[in-house]
């Protein structure tokens, strides 16, 4: 096994990282307790045992296809026995994000231009190639914004000579905390536009064509 993500997670915790996305991590001996970071200090939380049940829908019962959206349920706590269970649970709350950070540390994470992502689309998404840089910039500013959109840190550009200008500089800085003002936070790194953004690009192009 050339990539020990649990070991990397233990190292980040030793370095006092105590939050990932909206989740506060509190070591308790060999165990770890997770809760929404805005529920820190509360003593009326309901104990849960199933990370997936907590991550699937928001407080209003709406499905969360994008797990890094700032819509995590409140009012629960989850105790995990050991670093392996913590790793598995965090992969449910923020899929692949620990491994992505490890790849980043090891120089194995390569960011992909939005133009490259769109260029390889086929079928119903082939039309996304037609989005203009200006349309893409506005769409990203709306869909990816940390306030209500997505908590990931964007590592990619629209094109080699075109950065995203519709979001503040900290949105592109892995050392900045997302959400803003949180404790020392394990960053959620976005090395490539997700399929939600590609699907939105299709809507933008179709609307412009109509």
């Amino acid at each position: 096994m050339s990539r020990d993500i649990s070991q990397a997670l233990a190292r980040w915790l030793d370095d006092d990282f105590r939050q990932i996305g909206e989740i506060a991590i509190e070591p308790q001996g060999e165990n770890f307790e997770l809760r929404h970071y805005r529920d820190v200090g509360r003593d009326d939380l309901k104990t849960h045992t199933d990370a997936r049940a907590l991550a699937t829908c928001d407080d209003a019962g709406n499905f969360r296809p994008l797990k890094s959206a700032p819509t995590l349920r409140r009012g629960w706590s989850l105790v995990l026995a050991g670093i392996g269970e913590l790793h598995s649970a965090l992969d449910v709350f923020y899929p692949a994000m620990l491994g992505t950070l490890l790849s980043h540390e090891r120089g194995e994470l390569f960011s992909i231009l939005l133009r490259e992502t769109l260029a390889r689309q086929s079928g119903m998404y082939a039309v996304t190639k037609k989005i203009t840089d200006e349309q893409a910039d506005a769409m990203i500013g709306d869909l990816c914004k940390s306030d209500g959109g997505c908590l990931k840190t964007i590592l990619w550009r629209i094109a080699p000579d075109r950065a995203v200008t519709s979001l503040p500089p900290e949105k592109f800085d892995p050392t900045a905390t997302q959400p803003p003002g949180a404790a020392r936070t394990i960053p959620l790194l976005c090395s490539e536009a997700c399929n939600l953004l590609v699907a939105k690009a299709r809507e933008v192009v179709k609307r412009a064509q109509a």
């Binding site: 096994m1 050339s2 990539r3 020990d4 993500i5 997936r52 699937t56 829908c57 019962g61 499905f63 296809p65 994008l66 797990k67 890094s68 992969d91 899929p95 692949a96 491994g99 992505t100 490890l102 790849s103 194995e108 994470l109 390889r120 086929s122 079928g123 490539e192 997700c194 399929n195 939600l196 699907a199």
Partner: protein, 276 residues
């Protein structure tokens, strides 16, 4: 209960990645994939087990970061060979063939679950379970596929299964039907000659098509209901409708034995490619 032989092997140094379609609308599409992954994980066959998706997270593009081990078996949780298994998954995973070597890692791309010969047994099992005490020789069994999808062989796969089940001679009649092409499932009462009718959706999940669309086409519902995950009450069989006794099953992909089919596709990869 139809007897099924389970694959027995142990791959502590390998990872299993199950690929599902997923949905941005409801959690029902990915639920069976997660459930099969949990079951395989419980059995401890692989060093690690993951589910990845086209429309949900983790995505196909994140596999190389998500997985710890260097040997990765990828099994598409799809009903048929087609656009997703031949175009989308290989492209997103940057595969170069059945076996891909990249950055010191080996990715082994297995056949989709729906192509497995066991599918016939599972469809038969589901059909017999859904209508206990109903004489099969007085029953029409429909295997329902989507139909019309570009580059999709789901109709071919459904026809293959219908033929295989019909050859067993258990049911009075075994027929194909589709949502969007002839023979249309909405005409089930015209197509069926028997007093009892069993409908099994040849789909991976109880998502939009099988839970919301087909019940309307059958006449069980007058309009699409909320998603399966949003309903407290499950439908009860049988339905007395259009002069027949109708039984509507869950999608075949919700069958727990799909976990065994996924393992079988890994074993089959090793057998066909001389790997282990």
């Amino acid at each position: 209960m139809v007897g099924l032989k389970n694959a027995t092997f142990s791959k502590p140094d390998s990872a299993l990645v199950i690929v599902g379609h997923g949905s941005t609308v409801n959690p029902d599409s990915s639920a069976p994939t997660f459930s099969h992954a949990d079951e395989i994980s419980r059995r401890g066959v692989f060093g690690e087990v993951h589910s990845v998706f086209w429309k949900e997270e983790p995505s196909l593009r994140q596999v190389m970061h998500l997985v710890e081990r260097d040997e990765i078996y990828v099994v598409p949780n799809f009903i048929s060979e087609g656009y997703f298994t031949r175009t989308v998954i290989p492209r997103e995973l940057e595969l170069s063939g059945a076996e891909t070597q990249r950055a010191g890692r080996t990715i082994r791309y297995c056949e989709p679950v729906g192509s497995h010969p066991r599918m016939t047994e599972l469809l038969l099992k589901r059909a017999l379970e859904i209508a206990p005490g109903v004489p099969p020789h007085e029953t029409t069994l429909f295997i329902v596929g989507h139909g019309t999808d570009l580059n999709d062989n789901s109709a071919v796969a459904a026809k293959r299964e219908v033929q295989a089940i019909a050859e067993r001679g258990i049911f009075g009649e075994v027929l194909n039907a589709y949502m969007e092409e002839e023979p249309l499932i909405s005409r089930w009462d015209e197509l069926a000659s028997q007093p009892n009718v069993i409908v099994v959706p040849f789909f991976i999940a109880d998502g939009l098509h099988s839970y919301q669309d087909i019940p309307v086409l059958l006449g069980i519902e007058s309009e699409p209901t909320a998603a399966a995950s949003q309903r407290d009450v499950f439908r009860h069989n049988p339905h007395q409708l259009r002069g027949r006794t109708l039984f509507y099953a869950s999608s075949i992909g919700t069958e727990p034995l799909f976990a065994d089919v996924i393992l079988d596709q890994v074993a089959e990869f090793d057998r066909a490619n001389g790997t282990r």
